[in-house]
C-alpha cells in the first residue's frame, strides 16, 4: 500500500509539472486530469472513498469538461509571445533557490515533530453525510447560495451582448 502511495504521489507531481509547463492547452488539460486521478488514488488509500469518487466525478469529470469546452470555443493557438521572455533561466533561477531554501526549512520543521502513523480506518459516506447535515447545515445552505450565484454569474458574463447602435446608424441590410 505504501508503494502505491509513493507511485501515485510521484505521478501527481510529475503530471502537474508537465501540465503547467506545457504550451498546448489541451495537452496541459490532459496532464491535469492525470494529476487529479492520481490524487483520487491517494484519497482512496487514505480511507476517504466518497471523496475519491467525488474527485473523479466532479473534478476530472465536470470541471475539466468545462475547461475543455472553453479551450475548444476559443480555438487557442500554440503559444503566447510574452511567455518566451518569462521562461528564460535567468528569470526564475534565483526565486527557485529561495523557494528551495524555504522547502528545506519546511522539511526540517516537519521532521522535528514526531507524528503518529497515518490512519488506517475508513471514514464512510454515512459519517460524512451525518456530519454534513447536522453540524454543517448552515454551511451547506451557504454553499447552495454560492452555487446559485455561480450559475447566475456564469450566465450573465457568458452572454453575448448585442452592439447598441443609434437607429440611424443601422446597416442597410438590417433595416426593415
Amino acid at each position: 500500500m505504501n508503494t502505491i502511495f509513493y507511485i501515485a504521489a510521484a505521478t501527481a507531481l510529475l503530471s502537474s509539472i508537465l501540465a503547467i509547463t506545457n504550451r498546448n492547452a489541451i495537452h496541459a488539460l490532459l496532464y491535469l486530469i492525470i494529476s487529479l486521478l492520481s490524487i483520487s488514488v491517494i484519497f482512496y488509500i487514505l480511507g476517504a472513498h466518497l471523496i475519491a469518487a467525488l474527485e473523479v466525478i466532479v473534478y476530472a469529470g465536470a470541471i475539466m469538461v468545462l475547461f475543455i469546452f472553453v479551450v475548444m470555443m476559443l480555438n487557442i493557438g500554440m503559444e503566447e509571445e510574452s511567455e518566451k521572455k518569462w521562461l528564460t533561466p535567468g528569470m526564475w533561477i534565483v526565486p527557485a533557490i529561495l523557494a528551495s531554501v524555504l522547502l528545506v526549512i519546511f522539511i526540517y520543521v516537519l521532521k522535528a515533530f514526531e507524528y503518529e502513523q497515518a490512519a488506517t480506518e475508513i471514514i464512510g459516506p454515512k459519517q460524512v453525510g451525518v456530519s454534513l447535515f447536522t453540524t454543517y447545515l448552515l454551511a451547506v445552505e451557504i454553499a447552495g447560495i454560492l452555487l446559485m450565484a455561480g450559475i447566475v454569474g456564469g450566465y450573465h458574463l457568458g452572454k453575448q451582448k448585442k452592439k447598441v447602435m443609434h437607429r440611424f446608424m443601422v446597416k442597410d441590410g438590417e433595416r426593415k
Binding site: 491517494i42 480511507g47 471523496i51 487557442i76 511567455e83 497515518a118 490512519a119
Partner: protein, 121 residues
C-alpha cells in the same frame, strides 16, 4: 466504524509528514504555474491545482484524527472551486471577445501610466 485488522495487509504506514509534504509540493507547483504563466487559462488551471492540494491536506488531517470534518471541508472546497471555475471561464470568454488575446498582461488599463495609449482597444 470499520476498523481493519492486521490480516488485511492493506495498511498505510506512511507518516503524516510525508503526506503533508506531498500536498505542499503540489501547492508549490500550482503557485509556480500561477506566477510564471501569462496565459490566463493556465493561470486558472494552476489555481485548480492549488485548491486541490489544500483540500488534500484537509482529507489527510481528517484521516489522521478519524474525523469526518476533513471530508466535509473537501466537499465545500469542491463547491467553491466549481463556482469559481464557471465564473472565471465566463470572464475569460468575455476577455477574449473584447481584447482578442489570452495574455493576462494585455489587461492593464488600470495601471496609472502613459503606457496605456499604445494598447489596442
Amino acid at each position: 466504524m470499520y476498523i481493519r485488522t492486521e490480516e488485511d495487509e492493506i495498511m498505510v504506514t506512511i507518516s503524516m509528514e510525508i503526506q503533508i509534504l506531498f500536498a505542499a509540493l503540489l501547492f508549490l507547483i500550482g503557485l509556480i504555474g500561477f506566477l510564471v504563466r501569462r496565459n490566463i487559462i493556465f493561470m486558472l488551471m494552476s489555481i485548480e491545482i492549488m485548491l486541490n492540494s489544500a483540500a488534500l491536506v484537509f482529507v489527510i488531517a481528517g484521516a489522521h484524527w478519524l474525523q469526518a470534518d476533513g471530508q466535509v471541508m473537501f466537499i465545500f472546497i469542491l463547491t467553491v472551486s466549481a463556482a469559481e471555475v464557471s465564473v472565471g471561464l465566463a470572464l475569460i470568454l468575455q476577455m477574449y471577445h473584447h481584447f482578442k488575446t489570452l495574455d493576462a498582461d494585455a489587461l492593464r488599463k488600470l495601471r496609472d501610466s502613459r503606457e496605456n495609449e499604445d494598447i489596442p482597444q
